[in-house]
Symmetry: C2
Subunit: 349 residues, 2 copies
Amino acid sequence: MSRVVKLAVIPGDGIGPEVVTEAEKVLDAVTAGSDVTFEKTRFSLGAARYLETGDTLTDEDLDAIGAHDAILLGAVGGLPGDPRLKDANIERGLLLKLRFELDHYVNLRPSRLYPGAPGPLADPGEIDFVVVREGTEGPYVGNGGAIRKGTPHEVANETSVNTAFGVERVVRYAFALAEKRRKKLTLVHKTNVLVHAGAIWKRIVDEVALEYPYVAVDYLHVDAATIFLVTHPSRFDVIVTDNLFGDILTDLAGAVTGGIGLAASGNINPDGAFPSMFEPVHGSAPDIAGQQKADPTAAILSVALLLDHLGLGAEGARVQRAVEEDIAARTGARTTEQTGAAIIARLQA
Amino acid sequence: MSRVVKLAVIPGDGIGPEVVTEAEKVLDAVTAGSDVTFEKTRFSLGAARYLETGDTLTDEDLDAIGAHDAILLGAVGGLPGDPRLKDANIERGLLLKLRFELDHYVNLRPSRLYPGAPGPLADPGEIDFVVVREGTEGPYVGNGGAIRKGTPHEVANETSVNTAFGVERVVRYAFALAEKRRKKLTLVHKTNVLVHAGAIWKRIVDEVALEYPYVAVDYLHVDAATIFLVTHPSRFDVIVTDNLFGDILTDLAGAVTGGIGLAASGNINPDGAFPSMFEPVHGSAPDIAGQQKADPTAAILSVALLLDHLGLGAEGARVQRAVEEDIAARTGARTTEQTGAAIIARLQA
Ligand SMILES: CC(C)[C@H](C(=O)O)[C@@H](O)C(=O)O
Ligand SMILES: CC(C)[C@H](C(=O)O)[C@@H](O)C(=O)O
């Protein structure tokens, strides 16, 4: 019985196309000869498209992307400070719009320190945790505004919106994940200061915890969590947190586990109502674009997450293993393509 | 000409009293025989006081504290999860109330990696930067609320309030500081996502920058800033940022520079309308309270900041130097008192 998966590919800007090229090759290699075929549609989106056409993400784009089974994204964003992009907010208008419109309420970001990966910590211990970051609300909603803008009397407000609906579904996902892992869940927030947003997170975690008696639950303020990420990262199994704290913690976690060149992520709609989107945590890095300097590993690990999500766990595990073997054997500098080829060689060995 | 400084001392909870005791001894030692006398008033505030009397910070407390020239605070906060503290929020009702009521709009947090200090980074390089954290607005204002509380339809909002008045004064302080240091200022925010709050920070930094042509200005998103704090902390000189990002970055910075046992801070009202307050960045650590296990160094370095602030720069520098010498010579475990005594011995040498 053969299966066709419709995959939307958004290479994006900067190093996006380079890393996505390698990720696609890995996807092709791991599914070659199997009964799954990926039917790919390429979408030209990002700063380059905006500069050409003035469009960030049209309704037609969104409809077309939404008709796929899954999305692979490289990175989007132009040169910082480019005056022609002054009025564009590619991040909000494209990346966050995709996450919000496609209801990617779970932003899944695994952090593992692979043997052989270079990290900044002198004595990291074992690192293997997953951040389950809320993806569709919190301080990311764009809710706010300013009065007396540009004057000495300006007041600018930015509102974090947290709903029981939105918090509960991501918290449930995190508990279910913790139950399949080492059975430990840490809520990260700042409940002592952000009393309104904090209270709803705390309440819902406490309530859902009753249904998971075998999952040990603890709580850390976000500031304390950053300390533990550098002094005792092995204490974490599953972290559940809001959109903004998740953003901060996962960049730090990426750094601690060998750099965001290795950090993969999935923007997941667990209900399956919309296609989920897989992307490296890193950005478009325009300064090194087109030079074959980017590490495609994060994009390739995102393919492993994509395969898992599609129920192709065996294929995902093969990609994962090939990457691990490659990382353990890395020496010296390689081009983007060389790294991709090395991982494919491991896959095929 | 002799000078009397009226100092309010708030030992607080947990390890607060132990570290403040050593800090006071250092203060006494460094001013002994000089023409400055510290007239101290002790205030019993914190979880212990709340449990006894039900009071967190009364108007009388606030008036009395406000009549002093400066404040030395240990740490406040009871045992996490203590059911008797369920309805108290000591952090908001006491610590943040002091910062807000006494208009501590500069939360000054220097980060230095002292020679000999143990840190988690394999190759930290030189670390010497100062975080100028806004202290009276942003997401800390407590502005927000919830509807349908406790139900599946709850919506909880938390609003960050940012004013041109509030942002400009702290940004000006940061530029003036950068000019006296290595002339580099980094704004940290998340302007690509928090568009309303981010825009006012960006605008004001850009405007004030015009008055400081010799200060190099750059910008980092908060997530990227956490990466640099562990991969390249020497890139920072002065960081200016909002209340929440400053909270997160300074705990991480503390961890990176040898632990928050060494991190000092000043809650400063530069206008002098209210007394400034000096406190270690660490909390009350009730788990190790009363055991002489706490490191008083952060409290002692806070005394150095206090002396500086009062125009007693020579005395502040002596404390600073004594601490540096002591850190360089540290071996094995010591009691809180032994560390205090060792630093005083250096002072008097
Ligand atoms: C580019 C930006 C909008 C995005 C975010 O803040 O979520 C990025 O930092 C990430 O973590 O995926
Ligand atoms: C205790 C808490 C309210 C406080 C803060 O968030 O400011 C603390 O973390 C700090 O950094 O001084």
